[in-house]
Symmetry: C2
Subunit: 370 residues, 2 copies
C-alpha cells in the first residue's frame, strides 16, 4: 500500500526547525517510503532541507508565519487554528492531505485543535494521550490517559482500555493485551467509585480483544506485569512524571557517586559500556511520541525537548499507526463493546450490587494502605 | 524532660517479632533514654529480648494473643481494637501509658484504629499519612497525604499544608518550610477545582509558619525545590509508589548492565564504594517511618518489610515527634489560621473571583500538558 503523507509541524518544540527536519529525515532513512508535508516558515524549512537532499524530494512545504507558543492557553491558540503551523498540520489530516500529524508544540493546544478539527471516533467520548514506557518485560507498556482529561468517569476508563489495547496489539503483536487499572491497592474495594465501576464493566464485558487483570499499583508499572495501564489524566500525568523524575534522580545520584573519588571514576570508565546501555534504555528520546487516541486521524505529540532521534521516533510511531490502521481497529472494538454491553448490563442488574457498594464505601472511607 | 514511652506493636509486619524488637533495641542504643511498651505475644517477645538485655530493662510487656493480619479489612480489624497488639498499642497512647505508637501492620487498620481511638486534633477534619523522601536538596522532603484519604477537598489540603509544615520545621529547622501543591502543571489554571481553591486559600492566609510557592509537578518532587509536597491521598500514593518503582527499575537495569560482561563486572567491583553509597541513599529502610498527622497522639507506620534498621528509624521518628511536641505545634498553627481566615475571606470576596474561574474552566477542559 502507499503510505499517506505525514504532516510535520516544523515550528513546534524547543529545539527548532532543524531538529524537526533532521528527525523526519532520520525516520525517512529508516523507511524510505515516508512522504512529508512540512508546515511552517518556508525559508527556514528550505534551509534545513539543504542538509537532507533525499528528504527534500519526498516533501512538500506548506508555508505559514504564525506559531503557537509554548505557554499559550489552548483557548487562545484555538482562535488561530487556520493560521498556525500546528493548526494547519492537524487540518491537513482532516482534509485528507496527510494521514497523520506530528507536532512538538504546546500539548494542550495540540489536543484542543485535534479534538475540534478531527472530532472523536463514534463511541468515544473523549480522546486520551497515550505513551510507551520502558519495562522489564518483553515489550514496552502503554499508559493512558497522561493528562488530556483531568477527571474521568468509568465509561471514559473503559474506552481508554479499549483504545490502549488496540494500540498495544500493534506494538506487541499480542491478541489480547493484558490491561490493568492504576489504583492505590489491588483489593477490589480500593480506590474511587469510578475505578470500581470501570472494573465491573470490564469484568462483565466479553468478546473484547483484551485480557483485563484488575488493578495495578504505581510501583509495578514498569515490571512487565501488564501491557496497558489505564488511568485518569491527573493520576497518569502524576505517575508518568514521578517515574521520569525518579529515574533522573537515581542517575544524578549515580553520577555524583561515580565522580566522588578517583577510584570510582576509574570504575566508571571501565564500566562505561554498561552505563551507556543504561543511559540508552532510559533516554526519553527512545520512547518519544505520545499518541492522541480516539480521534478520526492520527496525531502524535513529540516531546518539546526531543532531539532528532526523538523526533524520528515520533514520526515512526505516526507511520506505524497509519500502516496498521489504528483508527479502524478502535472502531471495530467499540462495535464489539456495543454488543457486549447489552449482555453485561443485564447481568449486572441481576447481581446483588448494592451490598458490595456499601461494603466498599465503609472500607475506603477508613483508610488506604500506603 | 523525661521522654514518654513508645508503644511498639511487636506482632505487625512481615519480618516478625525479632525484627521489631531488634529495631527498637537499635534505636535505644542510639538514644538510651528511650523506654518501651512492647505489645504482643509475651513468650515470643521475651525470647526476642534475650538478645538485648539492656533493652529488657527499659521495656514493659503487654501481652495479647490477637493480631491484625495484613490483608484484613479495616472494618473487620476495628472490631478487635481491644484485643489485638495493634489496637492495644494505639490505646496505650490514648490512655497515657505511652506517648507514641509504632506498628508495621496493616496501614488501613492502623489508620482506622488511630482515628477512632485518638480522634483528630481540633481544627483538623481528617488525619493524613506523611513520609520523608530523599531529595537532591539539603534536607528530605515531606509528602502527604500518602493514601489515608482517597478524595480531598480544598479545606483538607490546606490543613495538610499546615501539618506538613509543622513536621518539616522539626526535620529541617526552617522557620517557614517551602510548601507546594502537587499538580499536573505549574500554571494557576491547571488541575482540579480543589487544587485551585486550596491555592487561593493558602495565598490569602497570612501569618502561617510556611512559605507557599504554588504548584509542583511530580518530576520535581525529589529536586529539593520545596520542603513539603501536599496532595490528596490517591495522587500521593500513586506518586510515592511510582517513585519507588522507578528507582527500583533503574537499579535493576543497572545491575543487569553491570553483570552483562566481564569488563562491566570489573568496573562494578572497582566502583563498588560508589554504588554502595547509591544503595544506601535509596534504601527505603533509611527513610522508614510514615507518620499519621493530625491526631491527638503520635502514631508511626513502619513499612511491613522493613528490617531492624528500618524499624529503628521508625522508632526514632516517633521519639523525635514526641520530643518536639508535634501535636501542640499543629494546634498552635491551626489557631493562627483561624485568625487569618477571617481576614482572608473578606479579601477573597472583594476580588473579581468569577472571571478567573470561568477562564480556568475553559482551559482545563480542553487539555493538559503531558
Amino acid at each position: 500500500m502507499t503510505l499517506p503523507r505525514i504532516a510535520v509541524d516544523a515550528m513546534g518544540g524547543d529545539e527548532g526547525v532543524q531538529t524537526m527536519i533532521s528527525g523526519a529525515a532520520l525516520a525517512r532513512r529508516r523507511h524510505d517510503k515516508f512522504k512529508f508535508l512540512l508546515v511552517g516558515d518556508e525559508p527556514r524549512i528550505k534551509a534545513a532541507l539543504d542538509a537532507h537532499p533525499q528528504m527534500r524530494g519526498a516533501s512538500e512545504i506548506l508555508h505559514c508565519d504564525d506559531v503557537v507558543s509554548g505557554d499559550e492557553k489552548p483557548t487562545a491558540a484555538l482562535r488561530r487554528a487556520k493560521t498556525t503551523s500546528m493548526g494547519l498540520a492537524v487540518n491537513a489530516v482532516k482534509q485528507g492531505h496527510a494521514g497523520a500529524a506530528v507536532s512538538a508544540g504546546n500539548t494542550g493546544a495540540l489536543m484542543a485543535m485535534s479534538k475540534l478539527s478531527l472530532r472523536t471516533i463514534k463511541g468515544i467520548d473523549r480522546p486520551a494521550l497515550a505513551a510507551l514506557m520502558p519495562s522489564l518485560g518483553e515489550n514496552d507498556v502503554i499508559m493512558l490517559d497522561l493528562g488530556a482529561n483531568t477527571e474521568c468517569d468509568a465509561r471514559n476508563l473503559v474506552q481508554f482500555a479499549i483504545m490502549g489495547a488496540a494500540y498495544s496489539r500493534i506494538v506487541t503483536g499480542r491478541e489480547a493485551p493484558r490491561v490493568r487499572l492504576l489504583n492505590i491497592g489491588t483489593e477490589e474495594t480500593k480506590g474511587t467509585e469510578q475505578l470500581q465501576e470501570a472494573t465491573q464493566r470490564l469484568r462483565a464485558a466479553t468478546g473484547l480483544a483484551l485480557s483485563f487483570d484488575g488493578f495495578i499499583e504505581a510501583d509495578k508499572i514498569n515490571r512487565g506485569f501488564c501491557d496497558v495501564v489505564v488511568t485518569d489524566g491527573f493520576s497518569g500525568n502524576i505517575a508518568l512524571k514521578a517515574i521520569e523524575g525518579a529515574a533522573r534522580f537515581v542517575t544524578d545520584l549515580l553520577r555524583n557517586a561515580f565522580t566522588s573519588s578517583l577510584r570510582s571514576k576509574i570504575g566508571f570508565l571501565v564500566s562505561r559500556p554498561a552505563t551507556e546501555l543504561l543511559k540508552h534504555h532510559l533516554d526519553p528520546n527512545n520512547h518519544n511520541g505520545a499518541v492522541f487516541l480516539g480521534l478520526n486521524g492520527v496525531v502524535v505529540k513529540s516531546h518539546g525537548s526531543a532531539n532528532a532521534t526523538g523526533v524520528a521516533n515520533a514520526v515512526t510511531v505516526a507511520a506505524r499507526l497509519l500502516e496498521e490502521d489504528l483508527t479502524h481497529r478502535i472502531s471495530a472494538d467499540l462495535a464489539e463493546l456495543g454488543e457486549t454491553r447489552l449482555r453485561s448490563s443485564a447481568r449486572a442488574n441481576a447481581a446483588g450490587k448494592v451490598d458490595r457498594e456499601a461494603e466498599a464505601e465503609a472500607d475506603t472511607s477508613e483508610g488506604q494502605g500506603a
